[in-house]
């Protein structure tokens, strides 16, 4: 029992369970089947959390190298803008082939923006927070240039599918997120990338002297983060069927960083946890949904969110846990440790 309690992800998981339980009681439909696919608050949460999961995945890898990527929100806006602009120029917006091609192109462009970030960090040697701040600020401007300051609306069935469609009764957006998680897990744990990443984040100097091409790995990680942010931007824009370069991905970098931290990856780099990040992202999304569901007044939602986050962070702080739980029952805890 204590080993479960001691697990870093215990408290985030517990809070998630509590929040979901609250939703079971407050929402009239938590999970049900309607028109042949799943429906309800839980499904809304899963679908809604897809963009954040995608962004947070990339952020996890970046943070593992000891970096940070503030530009993910802007990259979302750019990719949505590019996709919507190109789709709106299509003769037949419902043609599947061209739309897929456009999606691929938008992601490709996002990867290039990631390359830009990575180059600034690894090759030019600018501090990650500053290097990505450049694109964070400039990127939104680029997105507005692409859309010419307008909101571009699209009427494309295939495009809308990636946000609101269902495959085998499950939301496509969530499936995309699951696929992305699987891809990243394979990429980091089935190859040596995870080890080398953690090494670079743990000690860049020692890694260099061990012959690790830290620069190439760093650049690659920012490219992955860019690509995933681009994909998140497509889901966002497909959901509202338009490119909104002002609010797409606005402040999502902060939620993503929070998700990574809740998941147990330290901001100084090194060890990272994909499972933790996914849990963190879903938790943040659930929190947002719950706040609305329980009827917290709109002006108090941010404060409510802040309180939960503070509680969460405290529950994960070893010093705080020691103070609170250590004093309550030091003896049994000690004995249990010996028993292990």
């Amino acid at each position: 029992m204590t080993s479960i309690l001691k697990n870093r992800l215990f408290w985030p998981a517990a809070i998630l369970v509590v929040l979901l339980a609250v939703n079971v009681f407050t929402s009239n439909q938590f999970i049900t089947i309607r028109d042949g696919h799943l429906f309800g608050t839980l499904i809304d949460i899963l679908r809604g959390s897809a963009p954040l999961i995608l962004v947070a995945l990339g952020m996890t890898l970046v943070i593992a190298t000891g970096g940070i990527d503030l530009s993910v929100g802007s990259v979302m806006a750019i990719s949505g803008a590019v996709a919507c602009l190109l789709i709106s120029d299509l003769g037949d917006q419902n043609a599947v082939g061209p739309v897929l091609l456009i999606i691929a192109a938008s992601i490709g462009i996002s990867v290039l923006f990631g390359l830009w970030n990575g180059a600034l960090v690894a090759i030019v040697g600018i501090q990650p927070i500053i290097a990505t701040l450049i694109l964070m600020v400039a990127g939104r401007g680029v997105a507005q240039l692409i859309t010419d300051g307008q909101i571009i609306n699209v009427q494309s069935g295939p495009y809308a599918t990636i946000a609101s469609g269902f495959l085998l009764a499950v939301p496509v957006a969530f499936l995309i997120a699951v696929a992305a998680v699987a891809l990243i897990v394979l990429l980091t744990r089935r190859t040596a990338l995870g080890l080398l990443l953690e090494s670079v984040g743990g000690s860049p100097t020692a890694s260099r002297l061990a012959g690790i091409g830290a620069k190439r790995i760093t650049v690659m990680v920012y490219m992955v983060a860019g690509g995933f942010a681009g994909l998140a931007g497509l889901i966002y824009s497909a959901n509202i069927k338009s490119a909104d370069s002002i609010s797409a991905g606005n402040l999502i970098e902060l939620d993503a960083i929070l998700a990574v931290v809740i998941g147990g990856t330290a901001l100084i780099g090194g060890r990272f946890s994909i499972a933790g990040t996914v849990l963190g992202a879903i938790l943040i999304q659930t929190l947002g949904v719950t706040v609305v569901a329980v009827g917290v007044p709109a002006q108090a939602t941010l404060l409510f969110k802040a309180i939960v986050v503070v509680a969460l962070c405290l529950s994960q702080s070893p010093a705080f846990r020691e103070k609170v739980f250590g004093r309550l029952k030091p003896r049994p805890a000690l004995r249990a440790e010996v028993a292990q």
Binding site: R190, T191, A192, L193, L195, L196, E198, S199, G202, S203, T205, A206, S207, R208, L209, A210, G211, I212, G213, I217, G270, R271
Partner: protein, 508 residues
């Protein structure tokens, strides 16, 4: 002096780190008005004892009395308040501030919250005059030499609290005249009744300045002696002790492979290789199966030379060839491809990755050379790691433990394992035995001898002359970032001979 009671008395001091007993029942006495040398090889427990005294470490057993009253030193500030001040090898001052500011930083004379600059300068000048130093107290500290900076640090230390002064290797980076100057200051303080604890690697200095000495070995007290009554040879015996038996084996092994090495082909050849500001151009050839030792003081360019051969820093002049073919080592990665391995002296910052496990640390270099797309299969990893944990006796023998939790000696073995599995042709090891316990040290030395016996070329960097002499076939002596002499390690070469070169430059 015998009738006087000690100002500081430590009895039965015990300090345990995971995996190693650093101090085991050590007694130590310090009388007012004496210079007391603390002796022992690296890893004997000197620095641990000092850290206990300065409150960096808490003791696991034993008592400390200061001026007759029992004390428990819980932190550096408390040590200072109790009258114990320390000056370390690396000067911990702000060189951009003035001399006076450095002396009074954090405790400036104030009136109504305003610093009284005039009073501060006057008091600084008085204090320095007491130590026979004539400095411009308003000049930035950086305008003075390292030796003077050290003395300013001493002035600051005695002004804060003058009962016990600890000088931890203060002379390691000073030249002869600067050492004399420092000793003059030490003697003056001694006459004023300050008890001085002095640590130095240089035996001559110990005999020149100290009254008594305490010898530690392997965390245990060997004895306390009057310096004048203990011949140097006996002191060295007491410091090295029973380790001698193991080491003579090592020496035999080194001897036998010496003949072989001379005939082998050169693995690496440097001609006029250099990097401005780091190391003057040098020539160096290392043959297969040869152990080349680098000797020299701290800052003499030992590490800088080693780093050039690994591509950790880029040479800006000269040529390097490996197996007779010219190469430019642009990065460690390239050097590794050419079969060169380098284990840095900064184990913690440039060696291990603390968060990662023993297994991950060991396979890191091999994995890096394979690239991320070709992971080493887990079963193969486990085999390799198990083999090396056994071969190098890494303790605890748990491959999944974070390497951070291992003792220094075991971390060093992990690093050696990391490089050995890459099967290098030239192994460069920088200070592999620094700060590790005697047992691990002998094992590492033995390993080096065995590796060279097996045909590996080894470049061995160490601050300890004895160790360099014991292992090397050829010794390169460095001084002031210049390779000044190459010595074949024959019977005629001993520590004195090398120290002479270090002290005075090449004898030619």
């Amino acid at each position: 002096m015998a009738e006087q009671s000690p100002v500081l008395e430590m009895t039965g001091i015990r300090k345990v780190f995971p995996g190693v007993v650093a101090l085991d029942g050590v007694d130590f006495r310090l009388y007012p008005g004496e210079i007391h040398a603390l002796m022992g090889e690296n890893g004997a427990g000197k620095s641990t004892l000092i850290k206990v005294l300065t409150g960096v470490y808490d003791i696991d057993g034993g008592d400390i009395t200061l001026a007759g009253a029992p004390v428990r030193i819980n932190g550096p500030l408390q040590a200072q308040q109790a009258g114990i001040s320390t000056v370390y090898q690396e000067v911990n001052l702000c060189t951009n501030l003035s001399v006076a500011e450095n002396i009074f930083i954090g405790r400036e004379p104030r009136r109504f919250g305003r610093i009284q600059w005039g009073l501060m300068r006057r008091r600084a000048a008085e204090l320095l005059a007491r130590l026979d130093l004539d400095l411009d107290v308003s000049a930035p500290l950086s305008t003075y030499s390292l030796a003077i900076q050290q003395m300013v640090a001493i002035a600051r230390a005695v002004d804060i609290s003058a009962r016990v002064l600890i000088l931890d290797e203060p002379t390691s980076s000073l030249d002869t005249s600067e050492v004399a100057q420092l000793f003059a200051v030490m003697r003056r303080l001694k006459d004023e009744g300050v008890a001085i604890l002095f640590v130095s690697h240089f035996l001559d200095q110990i005999y020149e300045v100290s009254d008594r000495l305490t010898v530690l070995r392997n965390g245990q007290l060997i004895g306390e002696y009057r310096t004048a009554a203990l011949p140097q040879v006996q002191l060295v015996e007491k410091m090295i002790g029973k380790e001698l038996a193991v080491l003579s084996d090592v020496e035999d092994e080194a001897q036998s492979s010496r003949e072989k090495a001379a005939e082998a082909s050169p693995v690496i050849e440097a001609r006029g290789l250099g990097r401005s500001g780091a190391i003057a151009p040098f020539d160096l050839t290392i043959h297969a199966g040869e152990v080349v030792g680098l000797a020299g003081l701290l800052g003499s360019g030992r590490t800088e030379l080693a780093r050039l051969l690994f591509g950790a820093d880029r040479a800006d002049q000269g040529e390097l060839s490996i197996d007779g073919r010219p190469v430019t080592l642009r990065s460690p990665q390239l050097a590794m491809k050419k079969g060169i391995a380098f284990s840095s002296e900064n184990r913690r910052t440039e060696g291990i990755i603390g968060d990662l496990s023993v297994r991950e640390n060991i396979i890191l270099a091999l994995q890096a050379s394979r690239g991320w797309t070709r992971p080493i299969p887990r079963r193969r990893q486990d085999e390799i790691v198990e083999k090396y944990i056994k071969a190098l006796q890494i303790r605890p023998a748990d491959p999944e433990r974070p390497v951070r939790n291992l003792s220094g000696g075991n971390q060093q073995k992990v690093l050696l394992a990391r490089w050995l599995i890459t099967e290098p042709r030239l192994l460069i090891i920088d200070e592999p035995t620094r700060g590790i316990d005697v047992g691990a040290k002998a094992e590492i030395q033995k390993l080096v001898a065995e590796l060279s016996g097996g045909g590996m070329a080894v470049l061995f960097v160490s601050a300890e002359l004895e160790e360099v002499l014991r292992l090397s076939h050829k010794i390169e002596v460095l001084r002031d970032r210049r390779l000044v002499e190459e010595l074949e390690n024959t019977d005629g070469v001993d520590a004195d001979r090398i120290m002479q070169t270090i002290a005075s430059g090449a004898t030619s």
